[in-house]
């Protein structure tokens, strides 16, 4: 088994409390299912959309992205047998229903 990080990018906000509740239910169901199959190493954390970008010349700017579709909203650490399986497992993520995407990145081994 190898480790992979799911980076959750973008995703539309819920338009009503009920839709928010549905979104959350869908996420919880999906993650629970992955956990039951032994793929979750660390459920991860949500990230604040705002932050700072620090560059070599010590310039500090707001960032990291201007466009909300590129903002990473959180991450999860999963285990899978290869990248293909990790990507396949990500395909059930509810974020796709809300115009977001999952970036699947292998954790470097050595």
């Amino acid at each position: 088994m190898s480790e992979y990080v799911y980076l959750y990018r973008g995703g539309r906000r819920a338009e009503s409390p009920a839709e928010g509740e549905q979104q959350m239910q869908a996420w919880m169901t999906w993650l629970k299912d992955l956990a039951a199959k032994g793929h979750i190493k660390d459920q991860g954390q949500p990230l604040e959309p705002e932050g700072k970008v620090v560059r070599a010349n010590r310039s500090v700017t707001d960032g990291p992205y201007a466009e909300s579709k590129d903002i990473i909203g959180g991450y999860t650490l999963v285990e899978a047998k290869d990248l293909a399986q990790a990507a396949d497992l990500a395909s059930g993520c509810p974020i796709f229903r809300y115009d977001g995407l999952v970036e699947v990145r292998p954790v470097m081994k050595m």
Binding site: R13, P17, G20, Q23, Q45, T76
Partner: protein
């Protein structure tokens, strides 16, 4: 931890109410934005970290923090109510003032006051109902349109109109206002309308059950408050619970409508029946017998009858007589005629239907030909019954109704 049903919806009503008292009704949009931020944040955090121990407390705390942030940032950019603007101007008083607003009992009152604000006499009843769903029940415009089978633009206009009226009044309705009694009647009427849309409306079953639940929940806010829990408030709550108790049996396993006579009464919600009976007992004080009282008494007779034959039809006819007198309506007269048929036989029922004044108002009401059809069938005139069932099919408002009468019409063909 599992998410309790409708948690977000109900918390949304609480949060919007308290925030609109803090920001003032002139800044309603700001209150809505803050509430939406809170829910989106909850989704982001909870989906990865799981539900907190006390989700309501989490949401309230997030709303409070967000409100403080906004007040700090927009201290000078916005116009607040003068008495609050002063408190918010200083860092020393801002946080304590906001804390005070978020105490449990004020939040309960805020929801109540918001309900009264929504029932502004300047607004039409459908607008009042839309505003309650929007502000107190966390429905989006699209969800309201879906529930009422209306165009989104129609609901949007209603909400716009409602928000303007609220902004004009600047603050939430003051429960010490001399207008309270008349406003309370308007609140009753709007809740009754909301419930009826759920109970008799034509959108799909799940949505309608939800409207009924919301009407019951908001009515409970009234009955829990001594200031506004009048006998007719209890009667209104009673009629809602006693009717809603039968909802689970109105649709069978195959999704088909089931008439009151054929319902599996073991599927009625015993808890709601008990609650309805208790509310009805509470309502029996004072000298006024409101229409809600009569309707609740009617619902109680049905919901407390273990079998159809246990129904006290004579008393039902008497109650319908009272109701027709209080509110002359062909729909009520039709229900009265059905009760008469049960008490005195099919022909008596048919005669009563034929005698309904202004029955032309029922020309598009599918239950009118349907009731005639059932009684003709019972009187042994299958051919007449079939004709009336086909009229009902023509007028059916949704596929479930249509299928039901198609089955009934087909049954008349059998020997």
């Amino acid at each position: 931890m599992e998410l309790s049903e409708q948690l977000f919806r109900h918390e949304s009503g609480r949060i919007v109410a308290v925030l609109s008292r803090i920001f003032g009704l002139g800044n309603l949009a700001l209150a809505e934005d803050v509430a939406q931020d809170v829910f989106c944040r909850a989704v982001e955090v909870w989906k990865l970290r799981g539900m907190p121990e006390n989700p309501s407390a989490w949401l309230m705390k997030a709303a409070k923090n967000r409100a403080i942030d906004v007040l700090r940032r927009e201290r000078t950019a916005r116009t607040y109510l003068p008495e609050l603007g002063r408190l918010f101007a200083s860092e020393w008083t801002l946080v304590p003032a906001v804390n005070e607003y978020f105490s449990a009992e004020t939040i309960q009152d805020d929801q109540l006051r918001m309900m009264f604000s929504c029932c502004d006499p300047a607004l039409s009843e459908p607008t009042q109902v839309a505003m309650m769903l929007y502000l107190l029940c966390g429905f989006s415009v699209a969800e309201i349109a879906h529930a009422f089978l209306s165009k989104r633009a129609t609901i949007e206009k209603r909400i716009e109109r409602g928000k303007k009226a609220l902004a004009r009044s600047r603050t939430l309705f003051d429960m010490a206002d001399s207008e309270l009694p008349s406003r309370l009647s308007a609140v009753h009427a709007a809740l009754y309308l909301l419930f009826n849309e759920g109970y008799h409306g034509s959108s799909q079953h799940a949505v309608r059950a939800e409207l009924c639940r919301e009407a019951i929940r908001l009515t409970a806010l009234l009955t829990e408050n001594p200031l506004v829990s009048r006998p007719e408030t209890y009667a209104l709550g009673a009629l809602m619970c006693l009717h809603a108790a039968r909802l689970p049996a109105r649709i069978d396993g195959a999704g088909e409508l089931v008439s009151l006579f054929e319902q599996d009464r073991s599927r009625w919600d015993a808890v709601l029946v008990a609650r309805g009976n208790a509310l009805l007992n509470h309502s029996a004080s004072g000298s006024q017998l409101s229409e809600y009282h009569i309707e609740a008494a009617i619902a109680a007779i049905h919901s407390n009858a273990a079998r159809v034959e246990d129904t006290d039809w004579a008393r039902l006819v008497w109650l319908y007589d009272q109701l027709v007198e209080a509110r002359p309506s062909p729909v009520i007269a039709l229900n009265r005629a059905i009760a008469i048929a049960q008490r005195s036989g099919a022909q008596a029922g048919i005669d009563a239907i034929r005698a309904i004044p202004h029955s032309e108002w029922l020309a598009s009401y599918p239950f009118f030909p349907a009731a005639l059809a059932e009684l003709e069938l019972r009187a042994g005139r299958a051919d007449d019954a079939r004709v009336h069932f086909h009229q009902a099919i023509e007028l059916a408002r949704n596929p479930a109704e249509r299928r039901y009468w198609e089955l009934r019409a087909a049954s008349t063909a059998q020997p």
